[in-house]
Symmetry: D2
Subunit: 486 residues, 4 copies
């Protein structure tokens, strides 16, 4: 039994069990973070005179060697990446290596590794979200005059523009971005030094380790530090929320790609075809984004259920959280990237959108509003008059309006001030859009203003993202500096 | 057919269907918010000269009358609270009432109502969370010297104190608090003026309405304003995360109340007994908090699944989100209150905790650490020596240590510097705790410092909560001022 | 303290807690079952000479009185319906009443009540499912020649008929029906006599109680009987599966009701309109069925998470399962009923369906198949030839086919045997459907056969449902017979 | 562009997208099933004279070659295993290979493959479940006299035996087994021949293919055949239900392994230790089974959400279902195997169980029952008397009982017939168990009977499982017979 941990037990572990409890298949994700964690920990131990400079150098060199060898160079039969790396360090650095695990535990170690791996993913995700917002705003910018039917209940409701529609999505993704920024502040905290949960009797310096690893601060209470996965729940919940937003735009594009809607055509690079129906062009990538939204919801559910009712401090259950976190993270990242490409390359069929807007009686609301403004009859009465006219599904004439109004109110609206000119204006989708120029409305003047404003937001978001990345990189550069001989 | 909306359709709605699509059973939650929304909207319409002062006063008076009558005075057969209130206003205020729905839609109206109702719940929830943190810190403060076994994998791991343990929970709830604060900033935004989704052609003033209703800002894009429920997902996710934290402490208290652990006794006010086993005292409230954690997770799942792949803008599906939001909110609020009471009144059996800590070989880690410090053999070697000793489950003598060490390292540790005095110290739980005085550790010096620090945090959190409440109250006071005759 | 249970505790329960742990709000669902359970239990106690005939009669009379008074006549401040009914029986029957709870516990009592209430719901649900299948088959029967585009990826794929499409849905609902039948066999089992979990030392007769209550058999092991809620999980899972099937047809009808598809028109009784867009006719009921699918999924998730990791036997957590079961049950029942009405009353626009089928090049697969049959070139080659033709989106001429074929294969297909006649046939949707007459295909001959076959299935399913109901009714009639004076 | 499908599109697929939509990473699961499906399909095509004997032989030989090469020999850059295998067949068999996809589509192909792979997993799972039930019954058989405290609310409730407790678990797993058997009947149905959804115009023989592949029958309607994944939902739901049952016994064993309970000791082969706390023996495998219960719940949730509201027939979303099905399947299988090993090897500490049963006043219920039987006072009164005695937590003397009874009823129970002998008997846990010999009770006589009965059930379940396996093997043997030269 050469397992460095199992000396207390009288027999080896059953092989099925060993495979069952091993986390090696997902530990690839935290291989590089674990190298960093061990480096920072050992450098601090050295500064605090807990290990000697010579031992520290030996360990650091061994870690560099392991990093070069890569994850696959580790012994895959061991329980996890931490034991695998420590075993290798002992192999490479001898007795010095046996000092590396002084004053830490796998409990604080794995929590630290996950936070490091996650923050990197999050930072990349922020970049993807900014790219998506930009491409939405770009297409919006070109389509402030592209009229289309606005839908409620998937029925034609009122005219709007593609710009108005896409800015709505961009705003949703801006909130998703902000939520991730908020979550980041609770992710980038250092648990190291918490030990198994009771911290340690060695005079370590937790602040120093946090600084070396580019963390913003500590998870202070040592029992809290190893017990909590609330940051994972928060992140996956935020990712699930973002996936829902992606699924909604995906659904729209799937609908808009049907021969029935025919509002857009996906670029061939983002479509596939059938194994037996050669005429088909299928929006597979969009369907998968939609489906993966369900998957990320499931990851969240798993993690909530796993963490429920776990007594403090560490339980092995927490190991089962990590694969869900990885899956949710990578699913969102790739979905964001694909969606950005789809929007960037799709062809907008503005003529089809316009034709759909002009068909039917989509301006009924504007007609009712116009009646209110021109004749001063109450809105609810105007709604009733227009409602009886709407049964035909066609735009009404002034005469028809008068007949309907007579029945409802006893008076003809043309006698109360409704003119042919104002009727024509009310029934025209473009006019209906132009007049909706209050804050947030679809009028081009307003959508142009909103687009500009949001472009500025993306620039400022990018700046603050870069600052986060720079801070971490500066810390890690120091950590990864060549080991000086001492 | 006297339904004010159905004039376009030629027949009434099937009664089963009417019941199926009605939201009246949950609309009680937004009855008062809807009164507020209508008031603010009409006051703005008046300021913008869209309705006259006389009509405005009539409507405001009617709304005051309805508010006094209460939710139950509405016609329960109508589709929702908005139609019910508007119908009643028309009944009370005549033609003026028919003008109330000018320049708004139920889509923006319901979104605004939900945000108002939710922010109130959230503010109360923040108060409950502060109370819970305080009671945890109070009990911690009294138990900085109450030693207990710290657990990993529900096995005795290392000694700690009750204070250390409870501060860990308080810190988790502090993060829950912060998450709710972050969510609040995305909840307290005004969608009103978005209309059905396309805003309106009337020259309304959205900023003014937002101010009257105590909102911090607008949900600007009008399509976004009615389409999104991301704030509901975020809130329920945050509540679910908090419930998980509650379930973990609930689980511990359930375990600690068993005859096997016997660490605490619940106050009779928070326990129940059996219908046939008269000797029993059951932790029912704690079990229900644990169970309700599953329920709130389910509410979250429902909402994620409901919102997935909904095309913009409003769809009736969104109506099904609200009951889940209400349920999650009220479950968390009551669970927080109950948990605060349980902790406040439970009896801590510190003698039992101490006895459990002294039994067995819980200080094995400290012994290994001591060996490292005293003899300078590497940690992994010391771990191995102590590991072979640990099989007996009893604290070892110096002789036994020497025998084990001889086998592993070829040397006796007593010859390398391990003394009886340092062994005694290493094996003593109290000493093991005292020495763990680094940041976040269980040593009384550190837990006293942490408690003080967190008490200050709760005060400052309370202050900023009060400011939020005051701001809203100031706005609403103006809105609810008696209607002046004009 | 007049609570009949709390004599072991020295103080009453905190009021907030009492409300928190009370199940009275959902116990309405098991009020009548609890009366039945108490009756059967007491009749058996009498037969076994555990209570006297006089006491038995007094208790039965008291139970009849309580049943007449209804659920609202109970003391709503008590913990649950069991205590409330027992308290009332003691009030009405004096000392005799105090004997009613002999040899049972609330643990076996509530489990029995839930199974009785649930089996009734399930039987009604089976009836609703049969009705839905019938209406689908009726509409299918009328539309075996109604051609429409069949979709994959929501793109036009191949022609089919409405009958073929609706039988597919009917078959899914048949499987849902069968799953509920399977679940029923695990629901209709009697836990009574299990006591708190350890059964009882009184010489009771469990088989007799089961028979009196119309159960098919026992949940035998007494610890299993009170601990398990696997039947609830199974039922909710089955309901969730059925809701998914409902949501799929709901989604189709929502799409088909858009102006873009325009394949059906919902009856006005199943539609609603807008508060400001008078031209609209919204498929609200369908949207809510779709949304409620998410809700039932959430109920399932809640119950899975609640039951996870509960040690045996009874824990109060199980109380939190029941509301989810009720909610899931009633949601599915009403959704089934509404969907049946919608299908029964909707108008099929067969002309629009036909027109959509004739547009575009939907018969590309049939053309490739025809080429294979007429010219014997391999399918994959034929697929390639047709694929290059399909880019235009239009049906090709024989000349165009020859040009394409020449490029791909070096030969003209007209020279290999492809004639104008066979081309015409291949391009004609009706012909394409006619030829698909293998088992399960869309050809009218086959859909007529399938419809007939499934109609027979519904009849036989109805028969076996009626047998189940009759068996229970016979048992309950005996139980509810007037109490004879003894 | 040498992709055999993309001739209709003018450009290749973006590489990121190709990776995003590829299912190759999970298709390993259906590699062998796909070989079988292609074989059976081609043999039928040959029998129906749709392809020639020579072409059939060439294709079969190519398929055998591919099978030998294994999954990794396929072109991993292709979209899925079906295209990869077909491409390879074309490469190996030339023009003959291009005929293999005649009269089928990937839609029916993948549905068939999943059902074949799943049924194999299910059959293995049934075997694991029988093994688990057997080991539970074996341990029960040895422990019919091992008394232990029975728990409700995790409080000592009444005495029971380990046999009674373990049979309860075995019965739950029997129901899980039956549910899987029910699900199997809906899994082992053949969709092949459904084509893309519209079946085919070629005169294929669907029944023959089903028979060759060992299916029990067809999924008949061709649109249903490719659209439904209800069998996947049902299976995962059943697996999740089973995992819940596993998690409950896992939780008990985790509790029983604590120093506080100390009822069992896990075998070293199923335990692990700590990286820094050498005294520890951790129940990691049990914790992971508990955690994975949450994961399987999440897989279920994912699939429900993915399938919700998908219009017929096939959508790419369905591809995202498969990995969840695989994950749930393999998780349950390994969890069952591990749990069986744990129970088989763990050490039962019957002395500790007995000691815990004798401590405290666990026989309070039996005392109340005895009072009822001996004195004929009503149960609720006896419960009250014992309740007041129970506050002390100790077993009462006859004198104490008289004092308490006097207060409650005005009489001494010793005067009403309660003797010291009957009191002694009532307070003795063994006696309390002996007397509970009604059906399902803990008395050894009854648990011995139940164990025997259930052992017979496992044998009969094994027999019917073997019949299922034999039937499939017979079919596949024919299919895998060497290709005869023709």
């Amino acid at each position: 039994m050469n397992d460095i941990l199992r000396r207390r037990l009288t027999s080896g572990m059953d092989k099925d069990v060993a495979r069952f409890i091993s986390s090696m298949d997902v530990d690839r994700w935290i291989f590089e973070p674990d190298i960093l964690v061990n480096k920072a920990h050992v450098m601090m131990l050295c500064e605090q005179n807990i290990v000697s400079k010579e031992d520290c150098s030996s360990i650091l060199r061994a870690l560099d060697t392991i990093k070069k060898g890569g994850f696959t160079s580790l012994d895959a039969t061991l329980e996890d990446v931490h034991v695998a790396i420590e075993s290798k360090v002992i192999e490479l650095a001898g007795e010095a290596g046996s000092r590396m695990h002084t004053a830490k535990s796998r409990n604080d170690e794995v929590a630290t590794c996950i936070r490091i791996a996650l923050r990197e993913e999050i930072l990349e995700m922020m970049r993807e979200l900014i790219a998506l917002r930009k491409v939405l705003l770009n297409v919006a910018d070109k389509n402030t005059s592209t009229i289309m039917p606005g839908f409620t209940h998937l029925q034609h409701a009122q005219p709007t523009t593609l710009a108005h529609h896409l800015i709505a999505h961009a705003d949703a993704f801006k909130r998703d971005f902000d939520r991730i920024v908020d979550a980041y502040a609770r992710v980038n905290l250092c648990p190291l030094g918490a030990g198994a949960f009771a911290s340690t009797g060695f005079p370590i310096n937790r602040e120093r380790v946090a600084q070396l690893l580019g963390f913003d601060s500590l998870i202070e209470n040592s029992m809290d530090a190893v017990s909590t996965r609330d940051f994972a729940i928060e992140c996956i919940a935020t990712f699930a929320n973002t996936m829902v937003d992606l699924s909604r735009i995906a659904e729209e594009f799937i609908l808009w790609s049907t021969p029935e809607f025919d509002f857009i055509e996906l670029d061939d690079r983002y479509a596939s075809t059938s194994s037996i129906m050669p005429q088909k062009k299928n929006p597979d990538a969009l369907e998968l984004i939609r489906a993966k939204t369900g998957s990320v919801g499931g990851e969240l559910q798993s993690v909530l259920s796993i963490c429920k009712a776990l007594p403090y401090s560490y339980n092995r259950d927490l190991q089962e959280v990590t694969p869900h976190l990885i899956k949710a993270t990578s699913t969102l990242r790739s979905s964001l990237r694909i969606m950005t490409g789809i929007i960037d390359t799709m062809q907008v069929k503005s003529d089809k959108m316009a034709a759909a807007t002009h068909a039917g009686f989509i301006t009924a609301t504007e007609l009712a509003d116009t009646i209110v403004r021109e004749t001063d009859i109450p809105f609810r009465t105007a709604h009733q008059v227009v409602g009886t006219l709407a049964r035909s599904g066609q735009k009404p004439t002034l005469d028809q309006i008068d007949v309907a109004s007579k029945k409802v109110t006893g008076k003809k609206l043309s006698e109360l001030g409704l003119t042919q000119a104002s009727l024509d204006k009310a029934l025209d989708p473009e006019q209906s859009i132009q007049i909706r120029c209050i804050r947030g409305g679809p009028a081009p003047k307003e959508t142009i203003r909103m687009t500009k404003d949001r472009m500025k937001q993306t620039s400022s978001d990018m700046k603050s993202l870069d600052q986060k990345v720079d801070k971490i990189n500066a810390a890690l550069r120091q950590l990864n500096a060549p080991v000086r001989e001492k």
